[in-house]
Symmetry: C2
Subunit: 117 residues, 2 copies
Amino acid sequence: MSNTKAPPVPKVEPCCPPLTERPLTAEEAERTAAMFKALGDPVRLRLFSLVASHDGGEACVCDISDVGVSQPTVSHHLKKLREAGLLTSERRGTWVYYRVEPSVLAAMGRLLVSAGA
Amino acid sequence: MSNTKAPPVPKVEPCCPPLTERPLTAEEAERTAAMFKALGDPVRLRLFSLVASHDGGEACVCDISDVGVSQPTVSHHLKKLREAGLLTSERRGTWVYYRVEPSVLAAMGRLLVSAGA
DNA sequence: CGGCTGATTCGACGTGTGTCAACATAGGTG
DNA sequence: CACCTATGTTGACACACGTCGAATCAGCCG
C-alpha cells in the first residue's frame, strides 16, 4: 500500500485550551461537545475501550461485537465514533479493523486534566 | 429540614481504569458515559467552561447566563451538570453559585490521557 | 460460478433531549 | 407588607438518537 505518509488528514486538531484557562467560544464548544457526545453512550464507550485496550491498538469488528446489541447497531456506533474522529477503520480482506486516534484522545484528556489539576 | 450534615453524597468516584488498560464493563460504561454525555452538549460544555475558568472556581448563574439560550434552559443544563456530579451549587443570599467538582473531572481526564499516552 | 460469512446501509419505530413560554419559589428592598 | 429581581420548575413540542429487522455490499471458498 502506498501509505507513505498520511494524506488523509486527522482533521480533528487539539482544538481548545484547558477548560480552566478560559471559556470556550460557541464554535469551540460545538466542535468539542461532538467528541464528548460520541463517548456519551454506554455502548459506544464500551466499543471504544475494547478497541483501545486491544493488542496493537486495533481490533476487528468481529472481536468487539459482543456488547449486548445487534450487529447493525454495533456498526452504527462504530460509524459515529469514526465520524467524531475518535476511530479509524481499515478493511483487510474479509475483516474490518478499527484503531484509536491517539491525538484526539490526548486533546480531550488535556482539556480535563488541566482543569482538575 | 433536619439535615444535620450532608448525607447527599458526592457519589461519583474515580470509577474506572484508563481506557487502554482493559475494556469497560457494562456497568462501568453506563456510569462513565453519563458524565461524558453531560459534556456532550455545546451549551452545557460552555457553561461548564465558564464556571471552571471563573475566578475562585465558582460563578454566579447571572454571570454565565449569556450563552444564547433562554434562562430556563440555562437552569435546565446546570441541573444536568449537577446531576452528573460535575458541578455543585450553593445559594448565597440572592444568587446561586456553581462550582466544579475537581475529583470527577480528574478521573475523566485520567481515562483519556493514559489512553493517549 | 454459486453460495457463504462478515460488515454496512436502509427504513421504521419508540424514546430521549433541548428548547421555550408560563408559572412558581426564594430572598432582598422599598 | 408589597413589589421586584434572581433561579428553578412545569408542560408542551419538535427533533435527534438508539435500536432492530431486512436488504445490500465486499471478499473468500468450494
